[in-house]
Amino acid sequence: MKLLKIGILLALAASLASCATPPTSKDYASFRAHDPHSILVVPVLNNTTSLTAQDFFLSTISAPFAERGYYVFPAHMVKSILEKEGLSDAGLVHAASPVRLGQLFGCDTVLLIDINKWESKYVVLSTTTTVAFQYRLVSCRDGATIWEDKREMAYSPQAASGGNPLAALIADAIIAALEKAEPNYMPLATQANVMAAATVGQGLPSGPYRAEYGKDQVQFPSK
């Protein structure tokens, strides 16, 4: 019971910590000067051995960035059209001129994302699933990088430790094996994207589709 209470308090502290304002914020002078209204998510550059990470990731990217108040172009439609145009190669699109992409899509910015980790490792009765992403928002007006971020998230499922140590051990092994068989990347990817987009002083300032648009200089200062 005592342990349970400590656990809850720890969880409480963690939830508080995740809400706290980080000590140093980014400089939003260039971002605000560009005043972007829309974001085009182009094919994600997958630097991992996973064959599916880039597609699966795409399903988690639109909502967190649109929720900040920006028009995010329809991710699947854009991906399909680029494929039909022979532009499915992410490396090629990332190397393309953002100004040119702006002329093709009428977007204010392009969001370039690298997947650097998408893995599940099994070590002594526990499996740890890790994802890591790098984000770069470039202006289609002049190609300038107006925002960037990096996020890494890890998760290892654990069985609630009951009274019987052997039973707990077996439960841990089963849970670790299940996670290994089908690692649950999606909640981690969503969490990473939400934190990248919405963390105060680190993410994107409120865009035109939010009431706070233009009123959050304190949270997202220009230095």
Binding site: I8, S59, E67, M77, F105, G106, V194, A198
Partner: protein, 121 residues
């Protein structure tokens, strides 16, 4: 018993504190999981389409239709060769989100008869 109750209350407080997570600005429904399922198994296309329709309907009621959903639905119609339905969806997306006008306008131009196959196949 009281201990358990206090633990539950504490846990509830923890959840309440997490409420500093932003409230959703738009209605997404199950857009994310259904698109994921579709990428995992192309047989889930129908479920993805149904999820888009449902999220749009919910968004209509709360005036919180999410950006991109009408366009995504229109694109599925376009792939199916349902040009009129596709155009209706694109029109709605352009009305709600003027940022999409240039892009969807250029897609619509290519939907002219004879070029449909090229855009949809």
């Amino acid at each position: 018993m009281t201990k358990i109750r206090s633990a539950i209350v504490l846990a509830a407080c923890g959840l309440a504190l997490c409420a500093c997570a932003p409230q959703t600005r738009f209605e997404w429904g199950s857009y994310e999981p259904s698109l994921y399922a579709y990428y995992k198994n192309s047989g889930e296309r129908g479920a993805y389409e149904a999820a888009l329709v449902k999220a749009i309907d919910a968004g209509k009621k709360s005036n919180k239709i999410a950006p991109g959903l009408y366009a995504e639905l229109g694109y599925l119609h376009l792939e199916d060769g349902k040009i009129a339905e596709a155009q209706t969806c694109f029109d709605e997306e352009m009305r709600l989100f003027p940022e999409s006008r240039f892009f969807l306008g250029s897609v619509a131009k290519r939907m002219a008869p004879g070029e449909i196959k090229g855009a949809a196949s």
